[in-house]
């Protein structure tokens, strides 16, 4: 059999395995949508909420990752204006100069002829629901089913939001995304 680790969700001590396995990716997901200081707080909050509600977790309704991403996305939703402000700032000035090892990235961006500025503006142009779906797929690599489970919406709703988002992004960027 293949590895199954992580442990009991309802068991307080073993829930720490869920934290160990997923904290970084949840933090990263939030941190790509909100400023880092807010993101770190919300990442901790995500696990706090998940931990408190661990008894209500139903494995039959989807895995732990979509569940955590769903909690995180709801928290991000409370900071919708901050997220939009961030995209608008990035659209004006691009990423901060000191941010990670960007040299290679800059080359990649130029090659794709899509810049952080353009993309930030395009993301700001999506509705909140569209952005949630797109970024859960882009950053969290969730499947459509997992997105539906994370957001508590129907599969068909995921598909229709995606369709609208693709159209908007293509119009804004001039390339298929």
């Amino acid at each position: 059999m293949t590895t199954f680790l992580d442990g009991a969700v309802a068991d307080p001590e073993r829930f720490s395995a869920v934290f160990d396995a997923h904290y970084e990716e949840i933090r990263s997901y939030i941190g790509r949508r909100l400023d880092l200081d807010v993101a770190e707080d919300l990442a901790a909050e995500t696990f706090l909420i998940a931990f408190r509600r661990r008894d209500g977790f139903d494995a039959a309704k989807g895995g732990i990752r979509p569940w955590l991403y769903g909690v995180a996305t709801k928290l991000i939703g409370r900071h919708r204006r901050a997220e939009l402000r961030r995209y608008r700032a990035l659209a004006r000035s691009g990423p901060p100069a000191d941010e990670d090892s960007h040299d290679q990235r800059v080359v990649d961006r130029v090659a794709a002829r899509v810049t952080v500025r353009q993309l930030s503006a395009a993301l700001a142009g999506l509705s909140r629901g569209e952005r949630d779906v797109v970024l859960l797929i882009a950053y969290g690599e969730l499947t459509y089913d997992e997105v539906a489970a994370a957001l508590g919406i129907a599969y068909g709703t995921v598909a229709s939001r995606l369709s609208r988002a693709r159209t908007k992004l293509r119009d804004a960027l001039g390339v298929e995304v």
């Binding site: 680790l5 969700v9 990670d100």
Partner: protein, 308 residues
């Protein structure tokens, strides 16, 4: 090309979290729970579970309270003690039988203003050689820790020892660590470490390795050689210390791998003679997984999982 890869590639990445931030978030999550939500543990005393020997897959039971001679002789270097224990574990055959069984007791100690309650629940995991697993959780108990605690508890009006407890239903989800059968995990430390890190672009690998290792030791049928390699991987990680003469919550002494600082210090305690896992516990003594039996067995697994 994955969907929306362009967005993932172009939008700025997040710098890695520093260890202190991760540990603070972890402690915040676990700390919130110390006072209230404890598992629903029916008040059935677990007196039957005495300290027993770890039996690996039908092989000779090795006394767990070993190492008495170590205390009288000059105390060897902890690293050497661990290395010798790992050597002995690695030399053990993987074992036979249709099911791998891990029987442990989960212990938690909850402090109130005047007394300490110790809660215990038996937790048995059966993993099939083919596919699937069963868990048996319970029975459980909750008792004041010492006679003095019992008196203080009575003085407090004998409140329910399981106030606000939760059920112990168990779910497992994949850690995405490997697609190989765990019995085929590498037995050489560097290769094992690489395999564990392969699917993970973690920025704080030691925290992740430590966390994953606990479950590799507790919840999967990894071979003795892989488990021995895991000890060596952990012993070589920054922030992990090897300490001799460490006692588990039930008083069994062994050599320990210790990670983190109080209040999030954790210990993996290993029998010095056999190299078998004795316990994984919080360094402050607040909780522990105490291993009773671990290994392949010809005993039949239960038909289905049970929780009581």
């Amino acid at each position: 090309m994955k969907e929306f890869q362009l967005i993932d590639e172009v939008m700025p990445q997040v710098p890695p979290a520093d260890h202190a931030t991760v540990m603070a978030a972890r402690a915040r999550m676990l700390g919130v729970d110390r006072r209230r939500h404890w598992p629903v543990w029916p008040k059935v005393m677990l007196a039957a579970v005495a300290v027993s020997a770890v039996v690996a897959g039908g092989f000779v039971a090795v006394p767990l309270l070993g190492g008495a001679d170590v205390q009288t002789a000059a105390v060897p270097e902890a690293d050497a003690v661990l290395a010798a224990a790992a050597d002995r574990l690695a030399a053990r055959p993987p074992g036979t039988g249709a099911w791998w069984r891990r029987e442990m007791v989960q212990v938690a100690r909850m402090k109130t203003a005047t007394y300490t309650v110790e809660q215990r629940v038996r937790d048995v995991l059966w993993a099939s050689r083919q596919h699937g697993y069963r868990t048996q959780r319970g029975p459980a108990s909750a008792e004041p820790l010492t006679p003095a605690d019992a008196q203080a508890w009575k003085d407090a009006g004998s409140p329910d020892l399981c106030d606000g407890c939760l059920s112990g239903t168990t779910y497992f989800t994949p850690l995405k660590m490997t697609t190989k059968p765990v019995t085929e995990l590498p037995t050489e430390p560097e290769a094992l470490k690489a395999e564990m890190l392969r699917a993970n672009t973690k920025e704080t690998p030691e925290a992740w390795l430590w966390g994953a290792s606990k479950w590799l030791l507790l919840d999967v049928e990894s071979t003795p050689a892989t488990r021995a390699a895991l000890y060596r991987v952990l012993a070589g990680l920054p922030g992990v210390r090897v300490e001799n003469d460490v006692t588990d919550i039930d008083g069994r002494t062994g050599v320990a791998l210790t990670y983190g600082e109080a209040p999030t210090r954790q210990q993996i305690i290993i029998d010095r003679d056999s190299g078998q896992l004795l316990a994984i516990q919080e360094g402050d003594g607040s909780s522990a997984y105490v291993i009773k039996r671990l290994g392949w067995t010809d005993d039949p697994a239960p038909k289905e999982s049970t929780f009581s």
